[in-house]
Symmetry: C2
Subunit: 374 residues, 2 copies
């Protein structure tokens, strides 16, 4: 059935043979003869098991032996086969990334961070989109883990807050790390950043520019990170002794449209416009920007506008958006590392805090008519 699968000949492992079949229409199977662990063992003059020990960094291998084995492996370009390892040992060398549907830019960042960490450790990333809700999730998770047995799972928000999902993972006894979870911090290791502090700093930055009448557009009520951003804004205003006027804190849904609507409420009346608007995420900031364009309010001359996330779109508008860069990729990398090392956060907490960064671009400036910044 499979053409070109040499039977006895396949034993002559060392040589690299290219399959010669060119059967029309049939995709070539990858039946290049492989170098196996006992090729390495033979070349190094040791037993298979010793090679395995070197590979797995087990103790009790003489340095000289270790080096000989490593040299042999390098010479043959030997790489252990993941399936065989998974089958024999407990580990699959696969890390799964689950996501539902946050912005593609966000997921992309997460993916890259996780992938980098995996690559460093000889693991691989396998991506799963979890769309269905409710009971279906349990089944598909159970099935996935029975099939693949990933060494660990990375959960992105808002997925990482769904209780059925966590329950399903617990049921198959999977190791998982959550990124920026909103609750149940005791349930698993997690990685996060300080949203409150970031919002606080951004607000302080606006104040340092000379703004006193600053509006904030928050996110969904059930979104803990969003709440903490609002908190940071309020705290910073209070700390500076600045009043937050009525209607100066709007609620949005983290969408362009909701940002637009909040922007209209804030900017409609020329008499009551704030000099700066701090949107709880970039998408909403872009909504505000669209309103401003329509009303011929020039940014940053007439209005300072800042966002949060540093999404790709933030650089693809004019003026480019001042925003907060989340350490998204790093968070994913740390999460992957935790899973690969099979150790929860090294010391004290199970949560790992990473740093954000203010990204000052062109959409922010001193308020109109202000002299130098305070």
């Amino acid at each position: 059935m499979e053409p070109g699968r040499g039977d006895g000949a396949a034993k002559l492992s060392c040589e690299i043979g290219y399959a010669t079949d060119k059967e029309d229409g049939l995709l070539r199977a990858s039946d290049v003869s492989t170098v196996t662990i006992d090729d390495v063992a033979r070349l190094a003059g040791v037993s298979i098991k010793t090679v395995s020990r070197v590979l797995n960094r087990e103790p009790y291998v003489r340095d000289s032996t270790r080096e000989r084995v490593e040299a042999a492996a390098a010479q043959l370009d030997y790489t252990p086969n993941v399936s065989a390892r998974a089958l024999a040992g407990g580990r699959s060398y696969l890390i799964a990334l689950y996501y539902d549907n946050p912005s593609p830019g966000y997921v992309g960042q997460i993916e890259q961070g996780a992938m980098a960490a995996c690559r460093r450790a000889g693991h691989h990333l396998i991506v799963e989109e979890m769309l269905e809700m409710g009971a279906g999730v349990q089944d598909s998770i159970a099935a996935f883990h029975a099939r693949v047995r990933p060494d660990g799972v990375i959960l992105t928000p808002p997925l990482c807050d769904r209780p059925e999902l966590l329950a399903a993972l617990d049921a198959v006894n999977a190791a998982y790390v959550r990124i920026a979870p909103s609750w149940g911090l005791e349930r698993s290791p997690y990685v996060y950043m300080d949203d409150r502090e970031a919002a606080y700093e951004m607000t302080a930055y606006l104040q340092s520019l000379g703004h006193r009448d600053i509006a904030f557009i928050g996110g969904p009520l059930d979104h803990v990170a969003a709440a903490r951003r609002t908190e940071g804004f309020s705290d910073a205003m209070a700390a500076a002794g600045l009043a937050v006027g009525p209607g100066r804190i709007q609620r949005g849904e983290f969408s362009f449209r909701s940002g637009w609507e909040a922007g209209e409420r804030l900017l409609q009346d020329p008499q009551r416009r704030p000099t700066a608007i701090f949107a709880g995420n970039d998408d909403m900031a872009l909504g505000v920007m669209a309103v401003a364009n329509r009303l011929h309010i020039e940014i940053p001359r007439d209005l300072t506008l800042v966002g949060f996330d540093d999404s790709p779109s933030a650089q693809v508008v004019w003026p480019q958006l001042t925003t907060v860069r989340q350490p998204t990729a790093e968070m994913a990398a740390v999460a992957a590392d935790i899973l690969i090392k099979r150790k929860a956060a090294d010391k004290d907490a199970r949560g790992r805090l990473l740093d954000f960064k203010l990204v000052i671009r062109e959409s922010s400036g001193p308020p109109r008519g202000a002299g130098a910044a305070s």
Copy 2:
């Protein structure tokens, strides 16, 4: 070392046991006792091999037997283990997706399409970012294939046009499908859409709105799809008997910045502005939009602006961008299907053509002062 790995007890497969170890700091290993193929065989009263036959849809299984096995499998929630299958049979049930660095939105779409196709077929998607160039690629591809042995590889543009990469894949005899390749169409199956036709139709749409002085911003010279878009534009203008004035075809790099620059050249002189600009991709269209905003040119009243790609940002600006939707996800799904079925495109060609779609949004309208459309 591994706690809780019952030795003899592990044979009592049917029951689901949750590991009880709660060793502090140590992530739980997934050592839930598994239901294996011989549990199913026992329950169905057949041999392991027969279960395997049913699983793999092999012929020569009596219908009644098949049903009994399927019932048993369903009752036990049995799912075959991928690693074991990979080790024993030739197939890994893993499809790899290689990408370098196109826009995250694009990759996200590709991923989703490929993932959906994989899921339908009981496969999984494993994502690899190929950053390094040159010789490094060869090694890392060889290593990856030795480790993972994916059943097939999906190559996205512009990756799919790199000869060293194709050579490396050929060397390990991997099956791959390319998405929108620019050259070497005979080297592998591929999936694509008709960029020329899409650009032609978009141009015709602009003409139908009443535009006669239309400018086009093309892409990089070596980008075949870009060239075909330019071609479609030119052909449509010629077909309508419309002249393309000097400087009306600009070249960009598919980036926001290059769109901006082209936009400045096109819009700087109020006397010589086109009534419509067709940008070769959305990012460049957004660059033009930024220039227009700055110059207080109102879209679509003073200028019609359209893009190509339907990237996520296209909806996150105001006015929302009229553009061409590429069947990105479908292309990836088709690519995955080809690899899973292990058959090149069914009949005639190795290339599979998919349909695009014009997405009319708010950035396009009749030229200023025009009455009804022609």
